[in-house]
Symmetry: C2
Subunit: 189 residues, 2 copies
Amino acid sequence: MRKISVFNHVTVDGFFAGPNGEIDWFKVIKKDDEWDKYTHEAAKSSSSTLMFGHTTYEMMKSFWPTPEAIKIDPIMAEVMDNNQKIVFSKTLASVREGPNWKNIRILNEIRREDILKLKEKEDITIIGSGTIVQQLANLDLIDEYNLAVVPIILGVGKPLFKDVKKMNLKLLEARTFKNGIVLLNYRPV
Amino acid sequence: MRKISVFNHVTVDGFFAGPNGEIDWFKVIKKDDEWDKYTHEAAKSSSSTLMFGHTTYEMMKSFWPTPEAIKIDPIMAEVMDNNQKIVFSKTLASVREGPNWKNIRILNEIRREDILKLKEKEDITIIGSGTIVQQLANLDLIDEYNLAVVPIILGVGKPLFKDVKKMNLKLLEARTFKNGIVLLNYRPV
């Protein structure tokens, strides 16, 4: 059996996005070579299928295949392009591949048995996509949480674990970076 | 100028209490000598005035002066008894001291100038008391946050930073304990 992981930036108050999905607060993350190295190595060494909800998918698609993204972060842009991608969407019938943007599948429904079947063959990493995290958590499908706690409080926003059932966790690792990010790595117990 | 600090246990999803104020999830915190040593030394070495909202105050008062509490945790019971205590309450007119429970003051209103005056003379630590944390944070009165992140997700509960204004933080320290608690120490910037 492979592994389903979550990777998300979260605020100190537990939001993965502002009340209207804003991620402009990401800009408080200061340049930090060690953090860049960590995220790049984690991305490059991972052949994980990336899993998104529709909203996060559209955000990713509007940024990563662009010349701007490839200039700012070529390593990540390549990973985002090459890795397999699954989008959950009730409404999306098909997705268009394009330059620097391929390997996309759509799933119209979240069914436990389908996801378990995927998990037999591929490691999966969910990025952003709060509603997907919540649904998979409640189906006991998530094996690991990687939370990059950004040093900011928003006060209002979209909680990453909204209405998730009560869950005890085991801390696997906590790692601190100079830019103030604390990476918390948990698995459910 | 002295310092106003917050010390709180929070869940990974940012709650300091369950939806009805429950703190029964504290029981997932496993016995850990290093954690006990840390909390006891922090408490003993601190001559901080403890500051509470009415709800937290009543909880503290119903536990710490009892023979049970003194048996379970004599060091903390003594600190809770001896240290100065301030209760914010609109309705409480007076408080009764009693065996193992003294040094209590009431403030009926949260006024910035009064709190700044207190801060000239005494270090203050707010424990629990989400609504007090929120009001003082929005008055720019909090100098430091100490958050003991307990390895549990509740999904629903009382957010510690409910409707607090957006605030950038500086990470001063992150410390990991064997029981899975990660102590995050921030100051607003």
